[in-house]
Amino acid sequence: MANTETALKECLSSIDGATAVALVDYTSGMALGTLGGSKDFNLEVAAAGNTDVVRSKLRTMEHLGLKEEIEDILITLNTQYHLIRLLKGRGGSGLFLYLVLDGSRANLAMARHQLRRIEADLEV
C-alpha cells in the first residue's frame, strides 16, 4: 500500500532506465507530485506541457467519435522515451503518470507492465 510519494519512488527505482516521473491532473495541469528531473529538465514545465498532449488527444478522439479510453501514450525521442499513462479509477480520475526513460537502458514492455502495477496503488 503505497502513498503517492512511495509510488513515485517505486517508479524511479524499479523501472529500468527511469530518470524522472510526475503525477499530473490533466484537467488543471497541476503536478500533484514529481520526482527526479534535473536542472536541465524541469518536471513542472513538462507536466504542464504534456497536459496539453493528453487533452488534445482526448479532444481528437471526441471529434472522431471514438468511445475508447486512452491507456497510455508513448513519445519516442532520439535518446529518451516519454511514457504517459492515464489513471482510470472509477468514473475517470483525471490524472496521468508521466515517466521519462533513458532510451539506451529502458525496456519498454517491462516499463509499461510495471507502471500498470504501480498505478493500481493510486487508484480510487
Binding site: M1, T4, S28, R90, G91, G92, D121, L122, E123, V124
Partner: protein, 276 residues
C-alpha cells in the same frame, strides 16, 4: 505573539491573511464566508467548503468506500483527529488513493474559498480537522492553483455565475454526440441543482465538473438560472416567474432580463472568435 486570533479585520482578503499565517508557521483554522482553511505549521492540511462535496461524499458516492466504512473510521478515530490514518490502517483504502482523493477535495474547496477572494472572518489557533494529517501543501501552491483555475475557467466561458447558481438546460440546441463525461454532466442539469450538487451526484471532482459545465454553457446548452430578486413588478408577472427553464416549451429560452439572449449571443461570438 502576533498571530491573529478571534475576529479579524474584515478588510483583508483571505489570501493575504493566509500568506501572513504561513510566514508565521501558524496552526489553526481560518474561516471565510465560503469555507474553512486548516493550517498546520504554516502548511495547508485541509480545506472545507460548504459548496463542494467533501472527501466522504467523494469516496462513498464513487463506490471506493462503503458508507459504513467511512462512518466506522469517523467513530473510531474522529476524536483523535486521525480518520485518514484509520481508513488506511483498517485496509479500506490505499494510502495513495486517499492522498489523491484528499488533494482533489482540498484544491476544489480552495477554489471556492479563495478564487473569489472574500474577507477572512476568524482564525482559531490550534484548531485541527478530524481527518488528521494526510498530506500538506504550501500556502503559496494553494493560492497559485486557485488563481490558475479561475483563469482556466474564465478562458472556457467568462461567466462565474455558472459555478454557484442553479443550472438549467437551454431547450433547442442539439445535445447529441457530446463526449461521455460532458453528456453525463448535462444529464444532471435540472434547473435546481448547482455545479457542486451535480459534482456530488456524479461523485466527480468539482473542478472537473465546472470545466464541463462551462463548456456546456459556452456551447449554449446550459445557463445559470437567474436569481429571483430583480424581476420588475410592473411587468405582467405570472408568466415570467423563473421556473426551471426546460419545463417551458415557450419560445423564450431564458428566464432573465429581456436583453440577455443578445448578450449571451455576443459572448458566444466573442468566445468563438477568440478560439480561432
Amino acid at each position: 505573539m502576533t498571530t491573529p486570533t478571534g475576529t479579524l479585520r474584515t478588510d483583508e482578503p483571505a489570501s493575504a491573511v493566509l500568506g501572513t499565517l504561513a510566514e508565521q508557521g501558524a496552526t489553526g483554522a481560518l474561516s471565510t464566508e465560503t469555507g474553512i482553511v486548516y493550517l498546520a505549521a504554516g502548511h495547508v492540511v485541509h480545506v472545507e467548503s460548504a459548496v463542494t462535496p467533501d472527501l466522504g461524499d467523494l469516496l462513498t458516492h464513487s463506490g471506493a468506500l462503503a458508507p459504513d466504512g467511512w462512518w466506522e473510521a469517523i467513530d473510531q478515530a474522529g476524536r483523535r483527529c486521525r480518520v485518514g490514518r484509520q481508513l488506511v490502517d483498517s485496509g479500506h483504502l490505499a494510502a495513495g488513493a486517499l492522498e489523491l482523493c484528499h488533494l482533489g477535495a482540498l484544491f476544489d474547496a480552495a477554489y471556492f474559498v479563495l478564487a473569489h477572494d472574500g474577507p477572512a472572518l476568524r482564525f482559531r489557533p490550534g484548531a485541527a480537522h478530524w481527518l488528521g494529517a494526510v498530506r500538506s501543501v504550501p500556502v503559496e501552491t494553494v493560492l497559485r492553483e486557485s488563481r490558475r483555475r479561475r483563469e482556466l475557467l474564465h478562458r472556457i466561458w467568462p461567466e462565474p455565475s455558472v459555478d454557484r447558481a442553479p443550472l438549467a438546460r437551454v431547450p433547442g440546441p442539439d445535445a447529441a454526440d457530446l463526449p461521455a463525461r460532458r453528456g453525463r454532466t448535462l444529464a444532471q442539469v435540472d434547473g435546481v441543482r448547482t455545479a457542486a450538487q451535480i459534482a456530488t451526484a456524479l461523485a466527480c471532482r468539482t473542478f472537473h465538473t465546472l470545466v464541463e459545465l462551462r463548456r456546456l454553457a459556452a456551447a449554449g446548452l446550459v445557463t445559470p438560472v437567474a436569481p429571483l430578486l430583480p424581476v420588475p413588478t410592473s411587468a405582467p408577472a405570472p408568466a415570467s416567474a423563473p421556473a426551471p427553464v426546460f419545463a417551458e416549451p415557450g419560445p423564450s429560452p431564458r428566464p432573465a432580463a429581456p436583453d440577455e439572449p443578445e448578450t449571451a449571443l455576443l459572448r458566444r461570438l466573442l468566445h468563438a472568435l477568440e478560439a480561432l
